[in-house]
C-alpha cells in the first residue's frame, strides 16, 4: 500500500506491459486513450496522444525488437494539468539519437518506413525525451499539457 509518496501532484497512474506483436498497437492506443480520457481532454488532444503512442509503440515493436518477441511497457500518469506517457522496450537501442530524431531519417527504408515517427511525436506532444543505449533498450517520454483538465478532475473522483 502507498501512503502519499513524493509525487504528491500525481492524480492517477498506470503501467501496461504487453508482447511486441503488431496487433497490440491498436490495443495500446485504446488503452492509453481510455486512461487519458479521465482528464476530460478535447477530442483533438486525445487524438494527438493516440497518434504519438502509436508511433512510439510501433517503433518499440519493429525497431526495438525487430523480428524477436519482447515486452513493451507503457507508463502513463495524470497530473492536474498534464499527461505523461513513457514507452519503453528492452531492445536493440539507438546508436545516434540525434540522427534518429531527424525528419525522414529511417534505418529501415526497405520496410517502407517514412522516418516521420519521432517528428509526429514531437509535433503532437508538448515534450519529447528519448533515452536509449545500444542493446539496453529505448525509453521515449512524452508530455502533453491538457488545458481543460484543471477544474474537472476533482469533480469526477
Amino acid at each position: 500500500m502507498i501512503q502519499g509518496g513524493i509525487d504528491m501532484d500525481k492524480i492517477n497512474e498506470m503501467r501496461l506491459r504487453f508482447l511486441s506483436k503488431s496487433s497490440n498497437e491498436s490495443f495500446a492506443r485504446v488503452t492509453i486513450a481510455a486512461f487519458a480520457s479521465q482528464m476530460d481532454p478535447t477530442l483533438g488532444e486525445i487524438s494527438d496522444i493516440k497518434t504519438a503512442i502509436s508511433e512510439a509503440v510501433t517503433n518499440a515493436i519493429i525497431h526495438g525488437y525487430e523480428d524477436k518477441t519482447g515486452y513493451v511497457e507503457v507508463y502513463a500518469a495524470i497530473y492536474p494539468n498534464k499527461f505523461v506517457v513513457e514507452v519503453s522496450d528492452e531492445g536493440v537501442g539507438i546508436d545516434d539519437i540525434e540522427k534518429a530524431r531527424q525528419p525522414l531519417y529511417t534505418s529501415k527504408p526497405e520496410l517502407e518506413r517514412s522516418g516521420m515517427g519521432f517528428t509526429v511525436m514531437e509535433t503532437f506532444m508538448d515534450e519529447l525525451k528519448v533515452i536509449s543505449a545500444i542493446n539496453q533498450g529505448t525509453k521515449v517520454r512524452m508530455v502533453k499539457y491538457i488545458r481543460s483538465s484543471i477544474n474537472k478532475i476533482g469533480r469526477s473522483e
Binding site: 498497437e25 491498436s26 497518434t51 517502407e112 517514412s114 516521420m116 517528428t119 509526429v120 503532437f124
Partner: protein
C-alpha cells in the same frame, strides 16, 4: 481493416475502412500493389472517408504507392480525410505531393483530366 478496389478508366479507386497502422499496413500495401500490376492503371485515388486513424506507418504506405504511380506519370489523390489524418498530412508535408479532395466525384473529375 476492410479494403475495396475498383477501376474507373485508368484510375484505381481503393477504399479503406478501419485503422491504418503498422499492423494493417502490409495488407493494404499488398492489396493495392496487386491491383497496380494492371499496366493500364495510371492514377490512384484512396478513399479515406471510413478510415478512422492513420499514423506514420500509413505515410510509408502512401509514399510507396506515390512512387509507383509517379513513375507511370500518374497522380495520387486522397478523399475524405478526417482531422487526425489531416494533422499527419500537414506534419509530413504530404499535401505537397498528394492531392486531397472532399469527395470521390471531385477527385475523379480532377484526376487525369476527366
Amino acid at each position: 481493416m476492410q479494403i475495396a478496389g475498383k477501376k474507373i478508366n485508368d484510375i484505381l479507386v481503393v477504399s479503406l475502412e478501419g485503422e491504418l497502422d503498422h499492423h494493417t499496413a502490409g495488407e493494404v500495401r499488398e492489396y493495392i500493389d496487386n491491383l497496380l500490376e494492371d499496366p493500364t492503371i495510371r492514377n490512384l485515388i484512396i478513399d479515406m472517408k471510413k478510415l478512422k486513424f492513420m499514423d506514420s506507418s500509413g505515410l510509408g504506405v502512401l509514399l510507396g504507392r506515390y512512387k509507383i504511380i509517379s513513375r507511370r506519370g500518374g497522380e495520387l489523390g486522397v478523399v475524405g480525410i478526417n482531422t487526425q489524418i489531416d494533422r499527419i498530412f500537414v506534419v509530413s508535408g504530404l499535401y505537397k505531393i498528394i492531392k486531397a479532395y472532399d469527395d470521390l466525384k471531385q477527385a475523379l473529375n480532377d484526376t487525369g483530366g476527366y
